[in-house]
Symmetry: C4
Subunit: 221 residues, 4 copies
């Protein structure tokens, strides 16, 4: 099997799981019951679903951003071993789990017990960021799953990626801790973190200041 194909089926399978997880999220937004619509009117009934929309939005963006970063690190990973397969499996385990805390948060964000729901929600993202970090550390350790003929600059690049992703678990740990104090604060942090990682882009651009930076990151991946 050629090097190109080694990681190909892992990526394709992961893409499938990401795409399905992101699309299943909508099932957590429940059509309001006839009773609610009758007593409150449709417009109010729909507006009252805002925790569902918010949870849907944050989970959608977060999974999409994870997918982007997954794409990027797999562009650098050229070989696969059994441990990588199971690190990736652990990542997918938590990604497929996301619809459950999303539904929980949607249902209980305005409830006295919302902090617990927010802890599970942010805790799931914390777990994802830890596993993502672990996956990359395993792949880049001594460069063993990178291209066999990885150049010095590729190794330096890998080290920059490592420090780039170190930030994830720290920030999500902050959001998780915040959930014990204020549920809205921790949920807002999740939204901001997703946007932060979305627009921060790909670490190989860190430190460069070319104007065409954004225009070329993908090709660099």
């Amino acid at each position: 099997m050629s090097q190109d194909r080694e990681t190909h089926r892992i990526e394709a399978f992961s893409d499938g799981v990401f795409a399905i997880a992101v699309t299943l999220l909508v099932l957590e937004i429940k059509v309001p019951s006839r009773d609610t619509v009758l007593s409150h009117g449709m417009t109010v009934a729909l507006l009252e679903l805002w925790p569902s929309y918010l949870a849907f939005l944050i989970s959608f963006i977060t999974i999409l951003v994870i997918w982007s970063h997954h794409h990027w690190i797999f562009a650098a990973i050229r070989r696969a071993d059994l441990v990588l397969v199971y690190w990736n499996g652990l990542l997918l385990l938590f990604v497929t789990f996301v619809p459950f805390p999303t539904g929980l948060l949607a249902e209980y964000l305005l409830h006295p017990d919302a902090k617990v729901a927010a802890s599970l929600y942010t805790g799931t993202f914390l777990a994802i960021s830890l596993v993502f970090h672990g996956l990359w550390l395993h792949a880049s350790k001594q460069g063993k799953l990178l291209a066999i003929d990885a150049t010095t600059s590729e190794h330096e690049n890998a080290m920059r990626i490592t420090s780039h992703y170190r930030l994830g678990p720290i920030l999500y740990f902050g959001a998780f801790g915040t959930s014990f104090i204020t549920e809205m604060g921790s949920v807002t942090m999740c939204l901001l973190l997703a946007l932060f990682f979305a627009f921060r882009g790909w670490p190989s651009d860190v430190g460069t200041n070319e104007s065409s930076r954004i225009g070329t990151w993908w090709a660099k991946g």
Copy 2:
């Protein structure tokens, strides 16, 4: 990474999301309850589900047509940048949201509050048409994400596509406005618009009058 592969994984992921969204729509058609079947008979119980069938049909055709057009513009887009990835993500956000307004419309089309449901339904399609337009404008602006060696005719083609898609937001804005007056009128407009965009085909054929027009559009894409 070769130019061909730059947009490939975006397309494959989007295809997955389109395929899942279109297949999840059927979950909104609920098997009639034993009570309904007992009191009305099965035939009547199934016929009474016509708003579900209609909502399913329109959403199915619309998503399929969006998928076709997505295919076409990505045949012209040869490079990807971060902004394109997030325009595309915004498009997928609204596409995965479609099952919710579809279920809402199915449940409430014959209800006094149907206009609100129709507004959300047509509003979702309006949002999709706006994002689709934005995605294309970003990609074609100064031709920067088209083929590096794009010829003059390719640039002219891109401009024709731009004016082709300008129509989408305008027409869907009409359907959205109509929903405040008549729910059935706006829903019917959505069906007609989907069929219109389905059979209008691909803009590079606009203005040609070859008899083999339909037979060759795909290859041109």
Copy 3:
């Protein structure tokens, strides 16, 4: 775009829809309620779900067989036009609809109104067989979507495929008609028809009597 790629994304998208439709079927098998389990015992409660298992089994096999045949005719189709895209879209519309009549049959097979449920179930398969036939007729008409340099034997082959698929609508019409007389009879016919089309294989082998027939059909496709 090369000839190979013209139909590629249609096939990939269709495969996604087939895979999702077939996997969603299981959602129609409902976990028995605590009341049922308490009064009847778990073993009986699970055995009483046999209409769900039967409907799941028949729909699964039927969609899998449609997928196989879809694969085969797309191996012969080398070009795509707008009409082909929408014939294929119509096919996918009915395939994604299958979980609904499957759930209906599972719920009402032992109910006085079972004949109506069986009519919708067999009627959906009848519609699929008609659309499948139409799709192939369009693609093979004057050989216009087959390989440009189709040989005489390829044209003869296409004609054999045409007569091969002519049988589908006739047999499913029989199953549909039977549903007005006996629901179990028509459902059994659906199971037998799925197995018949599964093991009948690919029409290009019809009339040959080589011992290696089954071993080579795929490559011929």
Copy 4:
């Protein structure tokens, strides 16, 4: 059609089904009701869902491991025949069925009738292991679906794989038998078996003792 493409669409379709089945599992974890949360508190309500988490976890790992092994045997299978397609279809039938016994186990693990639920759960995995074994026996029998020019060492390798997979049905039969005595015992066995097959890896490495064993198995596949 080239040899490479013969099995390609089967693999891609199977991957889709595996990815969807694994992602649908989360739908079986139900958000606790307002009543439960009100009376027990959210933390307790979430902890009481542990049978759901356990069933989700075991089914997820098991399907992921089946996917890995499916990948491996299809790396050795170079040709497809009709019988292979239907062996594979039978495998997918049981894989798509998994969410039902998973949901049943989640709901009834703490119920007096849990043994029956555990029997269906372990029985489904037993069926998968039998079909997997049958699929491989068919493919490797006289090496007829392996590479045409399979070398002696490839044939020996195939025989080692055969004895490798012989273990599966035996062990899952043990888990199935155990379910009649102790539900927790049989469920624990399923978890251990999934981990065992996950880390046992790919049979072509059996008997080798190179330190780089794990690092290279994938390339060997």
